[in-house]
Amino acid sequence: MYDMKALYQAKSVKDAVALRLAHPEAQIIAGGSDVLVQMREGRRAGAELISIQTLDEIRGVSLDADGTLRIGSLTSFSHITRDPLIQKYINVLGEAVDQVGGPQIRNIGTIGGNTCNGVTSADSASTLHAWDAVVELTGPEGVRRQSIHDFYIKAGKVDIREGEIQTAILIPKESYENCFGHYIKYAMRNAMDIASLGTSVNVRLSADKKTVERARVAFGVAGPVPLRAETAERLAAGQPVSLELAERFAQAVKEDINPRDSWRAARDFRLHIAVESAKRAFIESVKLAGGDL
C-alpha cells in the first residue's frame, strides 16, 4: 500500500488540466514505474497523485497531416517498439526503448514519463535529442510545442508549466526523412539496467551514399541532462564517408560532453566509452543508410 494522500483520476486531457489547476501540488502519474517507486522509498510519501493512466486519447502512434510523427505521451515502450510507423520512420527509437528495464517495465513505462522525469539516463532521451523531437504540452491555454532540447531544464526538472500535461512527442518530417540511426546502451548488464551511457547517432547520406549530408549524435548520462554533441555533428557534415571520419567524429564528441564522476562510473571511463560508442554507432548508422565503410 502506498503512502498517498489522495488520488485524482483524470477522465480526459481536459479533466487532467482542470485537476492540475485544482491541485497544483499533486504529482502526475502515468505508468507508475517512477512515481510509485519514489513514493515507496519516501521521497514522494504523502503526496497527492493525479492519474492520467487511463487516458487512451494520448496513447498510440500516428502520422499528422504534415508528415509529423505523433507519439502519444502514454504510449508504452513496448507499443512504440512494435508500432509499424515507428519501425518505418524511426526504428532506432523503437530499438532504444526496447532496452528499457525488462518486458514488464516496457509494458508499463511510457515515453511521456520517460521524458517528464527529466532523467539523463532515460533510454528514449538521447534518441529524441538526436532526432530533434518536439514536446507537445496541453494546458489551460491550449497546446504548446517546445523543442526537446529546451524541455529539459536541469537534472530532474523539465519545463511543464502550471496546469499542463505532456500529451505527445512529435518527430518532424525533416528530422526523420532519409535518416538512419543506431542507439548503443552501455550498461552493466544486458537487461534490467539503467544506462551508464546512452549514445544515439543518426546520419543522412547523399544520394550516392558517399557523403554525410547531416549527422546527429546525442548522449544520455554525458551531462546532467541528455545533450547533443554539435561539434562532432558539424565536423561530419559534408564529409566523405570513411572509417577515418568515424574516428574523428567520435573524438570530437569530447568537446561537448561533460560526464561526471559518480559511484556508478568514473568520468574518464564514461568519456572513453562515449568516444567508442559514438564511433560504433556512427559506423552502424552509415551502414544502415546504405553507406560503405
Binding site: M1, Y2, D3, M4, K5, A6, L7, Q9, G32, S33, L36, V37, R40, E41, S51, Q53, T54, S78, G101, G102, P103, Q104, I105, N107, I108, N190, A191, M192
Partner: protein, 168 residues
Amino acid sequence: MEKHNIQYQTVRFNLNGKDVERTVDVRASLTDMLRNDFRMTSVKKGCEVGECGACNVLIDGEAFNSCIYLAVWAEGKKVRTLEGLLGPNGELSDIQQAFVDEAAIQCGFCSPGFILTAVEILESGKEYTDAELRKLLSGHLCRCTGYENILRAVKKTMYKRLGKELPR
C-alpha cells in the same frame, strides 16, 4: 499528525475469466488487492519496485509487475494470475507442466511470475530464437536456477504449441 481520510473506490474487472468487484483503498497496489482481497498466493512480493518480476500478472494479455500498478487501474481490465491457468480438475497447463518436467522450479518464488510471462510469449504464436526468449523473459530475476531450465521449459512448450520438433 492529521487523520488520514481513507479514500475507497469500487473496482470492477475480470479476474481469471470471472467478473469481480471489490471496494479498495485507493492506496492499494494491484499486488495488495490480489493477495489480500482475493488471496491469490501466486502473486509474490520480492522487491515491490518492479525489479524482480515475482508479482507479475497479465493485464489484457500483457505482463505487468502488479506491485507498481494501482489496484484501481484494473477497472475494466482482464487480469490473469497463475491461479487462472489451472484446469477444472486441477490439471496443469502445458507450460506449468513443462516447468515441472524440466526441473525449472526450485524455491518456487519466482516461478508464478515467470510462467505468466511465458504465457504471454506462447500466446503470441510466434517462434523465437534463444536470444529472443532470453530477452522476453529478462524481466524476472531468479537466484536458484541460473535460468537454464526455465529457458528449456519455455522453449519446449513453444515448439510443442507450434507443432514443431524441439531442435537439438
